[in-house]
Subunit: 408 residues, 2 copies
C-alpha cells in the first residue's frame, strides 16, 4: 500500500522559522530542521467567503485545507453567538465589548472548530484511526467527532486524570490509555506511536486543527459587516487557538478584505505563563516552566508547543501576551455569570481578566470594538466552583410567604 | 401605580377546556373556572416568518406574543443544529432520522427557548422580579437570563437539592430558597407568593415560555425547506415543551404554510409516566402518580401541570404518548454518544428510546423524516453516569509502544 501522503494531492506544510516547505506528513507535522510545529501552506490564490452557505466550513472553504466538506461528519459546530456585554461595558466604561461564545459548540468548547477540520482531512485521506493527548476539552471533542465519523479514537491521558474528567470522553467509547511519565514528553511520543500505528494524533497545534480555529475569526468578521474588530482577546495555553485566529485575519488582509488586522491579546494565567513571561522579557523563545499552578486548568500548559510561533506572530502584528492572577480570573468568571448570564470556565474568563489588565495600560477609543473569545463551558470544570459560597435560604411551604415578607 | 397588566396593551389568555378568554394576568396564568394552565390567545392575523432575520425571535415575531425583540436581552439562544443521525439510521434501518440538538443553547438546554420569550415579555411589562420552581435546567436558564437582563431572580428548590445541582444556577447569583414540603404544591404556591410580591414565576407551563418553544418548530420547518417533517419525537415532563412544538405546526397550518402537521410523539420514562398511562388507558385526564422513579430526572414529574392539555392536543392531532424503560433510555443515550457523537442527558435520550418502541408498532415509509428533540446536555446530569463502566488501559511512557503493539 502506498503511504497515505503520496495518495493525497501534493500538499505542503511550512516552517515559520526556517521558511521552508515540506510535503505533508500528517503523522509528523514538525520541522525536520528545527523541530517547530509546521503550519499549512497555501499556494497564492484569490479567495472569497461563500456567504450563502450555512455550514461554516463550506462558507470558508477557500481558506481551508480541504477540497470539499463532507456534511455527514459535522456535529453542527460553529455559528456561535457573538453577544454584546452591555452590563460589563457599563460597569467599567469600556467601549463596545462582545463575547464570542464558543461554549455553545457541540461538545461545549472551541476545540470542536479544530477537530471538525482535522477530522474532514483524516476522512478524506482514508485514515481510520485518530487520537489526541488531552484530559479535558480536546479529549471530549476528538472522541465525539471520531464517534460520528465511525473512526477508532485513542485518547492518551495523564496518569492522575480523575474518573470524573474522563466521563465526557468515555461516553463516546474511545480507547483510553493513562500514561505514567512526563506529560510534555507524552505529547511528542504520541507522534512516534502514531506514525508506527497509523494513528493521526490531532493534538493541540496540529496544522489542520489550527486552520479550523480560523473559522471563528471569519464569523467575527462577518458579524461586523465584513470589518475586523479592533481587539481580539483570547486565553492562551498551547498557542494553537491564537495562531488560528491570527491566521484568519492575516488571510483576510492578504485578500484585501480588511485593511488592518485586530490587535491580538493573548492571556495566560500568572501561575502558568511561559509565553507571557517570554513576551514581557522580550525573548523570542519560550522557556518551559516546571509546573503550572492555577485554577484555570484548561490553560495550564508549562511547555506550550506553539509558544514560539505565538511570540513571533504577536510581535509581527503588534499584539500583546499578558497574564492574570487566579483572583482576577475568578472575579472575571463571576462577572460574566452575574452581569451577562454566561457561565464559562475559569480558563475562558481569563480573557476578561486580561482585558481589565490591558485597560489599565491602554487607552481605548470610544469607537473601539473588543471581542473576547470564551472558550469552554463552566459545566466542564465544575471543580473550579468547589469553594464557591452563596446564600441559601431554607423554609417550609407554610412559611414561604412569611420569609418573603421579611426578607424581600 | 396601575397594575402592570392594565398598562400593557390588552392581551388575552385562553382556556383550552372552557374555551373562554381572560385578560392577561402574568402572575396567575390559570383558568379561574377550571384551574387549567392558560395559553396565549392571538387574534386572527396573516403571519409570516421573516427569513432575512438572524435572531430566531425576530424571525418568528408574527407568531410570538411580543411587539418587538429587545436584542440586549438575548444570550444567543436558538439556531441550534439539526443533525442527520446516519449511524443510527443505518443500524436500525430507519428512514431519514435527525436530531435537533437543543443542548447547544446558551445554558445547554431547550429551556432557554422559553425563558428568552418570557423574559422579553417581563421586561416589556416593566417587571423587575422573576422566578421559577426548578432544580435543574430551568433554574440555570432562568438565572442566566435574569442576570443578563439585570432582574432579580428567585429560584424555589426542593428541600433535598444537592449543592452540586445548584452550582450552575448559583454562579449567576439568584436568590435561592429551599422549601420543605410537597414539590407539586410548591409549583402552585409560587404563583400566590409571586402575586403578592410581584415576582413573575415563569414556570414550566408559563404561557410565554410555551410560545418560546414554538421557535424550535419553526427552525425545523425552515430546515426542511418550509416543509414539516413526518414525525417529531420529544421527551415529556410537565408538558410545556410538547405543547409549544405542537402549537408551532398548528400555527403554520392555520397560515396555510403546511398542509399537514407532523405526527407528534411524546415520550415519558416508564418509572414516571402519568401522561403515557392516561393516554394508553384512553383517559382524558392525567392522574397524579405518587413518586417518579427513573434515571431520567429531567422528565420525572409525577403531577405534570400541562398533562391534560398534552392529552387533548395529542388526541386532536393523532399523536402518541409512549413510555420507555430506564434500560432502554440508557441504551439510547449510549447509542447517541457512540454512533453520533452527541452526549445528551438520559431525559433527552428518551426521545430515541421512544422511537425504538414506536418503530415496533408503526410502519415508517422510506421517505419519512423523523426529528428527535434532544433537550439537555449530558454535562448537566453527570450523576447519570455514576455506574458507567469503561475500559481504561494503564502504561508508562517507555511501555506505550509495546502496549500498542500488543493490543491495537
Amino acid at each position: 500500500m502506498k503511504p497515505l501522503r503520496e495518495r493525497a494531492k501534493m500538499e505542503y506544510l511550512e516552517c515559520l522559522f526556517c521558511q521552508k516547505k515540506f510535503p505533508l506528513n500528517i503523522f509528523n507535522p514538525f520541522c525536520p530542521d528545527c523541530g517547530a510545529p509546521l503550519l499549512y501552506f497555501y499556494p497564492p490564490q484569490n479567495k472569497e467567503l461563500y456567504l450563502d452557505k450555512e455550514n461554516p466550513l463550506e462558507r470558508a472553504l477557500d481558506f481551508l485545507p480541504l477540497n470539499k466538506v463532507n456534511l455527514n461528519l459535522t456535529l453542527g459546530e460553529g455559528n456561535t453567538p457573538l453577544i454584546k456585554l452591555s452590563g460589563i461595558m457599563n460597569q467599567f466604561n469600556f467601549p463596545s465589548l462582545y463575547a464570542k461564545n464558543e461554549t455553545t459548540n457541540p461538545t461545549y468548547s472551541f476545540k470542536d472548530r479544530g477537530t471538525a477540520v482535522a477530522l474532514q482531512k483524516a476522512v478524506s485521506l482514508g485514515i481510520k484511526n485518530i487520537g489526541t493527548v488531552s484530559t479535558g476539552n480536546m479529549a471530549a471533542s476528538t472522541s465525539a467527532f471520531g464517534a460520528k465519523a465511525g473512526l477508532k479514537t485513542m485518547i492518551l491521558l495523564k496518569e492522575d486524570t480523575s474518573r470524573e474528567k474522563l466521563l465526557s470522553s468515555a461516553i463516546h467509547s474511545p480507547t483510553l490509555i493513562k500514561v505514567k511519565g512526563d506529560y510534555g514528553k507524552l505529547f511528542y511520543k504520541s507522534f512516534s506511536v502514531g506514525k508506527s500505528h497509523r494513528i493521526y494524533f490531532m493534538n493541540s497545534v496540529d496544522p489542520f486543527r489550527i486552520e479550523g480555529y480560523k473559522i471563528t475569526g471569519f464569523e467575527i468578521f462577518l458579524h461586523f459587516n465584513q470589518k475586523a474588530p479592533d481587539y481580539i482577546v483570547v486565553p492562551v495555553s498551547s498557542g494553537g487557538h491564537l495562531i488560528g485566529l491570527m491566521r484568519a485575519f492575516l488571510d483576510l488582509k492578504k485578500q484585501g478584505l480588511i485593511q488592518k488586522t485586530p490587535t491580538f491579546v493573548g492571556v495566560q494565567a500568572k501561575g502558568c505563563s511561559p509565553i507571557a513571561q517570554a513576551f514581557s522579557s522580550g525573548y523570542s523563545r519560550v522557556k518551559r516552566i516546571q509546573k503550572g499552578r492555577t485554577i484555570a486548568h484548561g490553560i495550564s500548559n508549562p511547555d506550550p508547543p506553539g509558544g514560539n510561533i505565538v511570540l513571533q506572530m504577536i510581535k509581527e502584528n503588534n499584539g500583546f501576551i499578558i497574564d492574570s492572577t487566579d483572583k482576577q480570573i475568578s472575579s472575571a468568571q463571576k462577572s460574566l455569570a452575574q452581569k451577562e448570564g454566561i457561565f464559562c470556565q475559569a480558563s475562558s474568563a481569563a480573557a476578561l481578566a486580561g482585558l481589565y489588565k490591558l485597560s489599565s495600560k491602554t487607552q481605548f477609543k470610544p469607537e473601539d470594538r473588543i471581542v473576547l473569545i470564551l472558550t469552554g463551558s463552566g459545566l466542564k470544570a465544575m471543580e473550579e466552583l468547589s469553594s464557591m459560597t452563596f446564600p441559601l435560604h431554607k423554609t417550609s411551604l407554610p412559611q414561604l410567604e412569611s420569609l418573603l415578607n421579611h426578607h424581600f
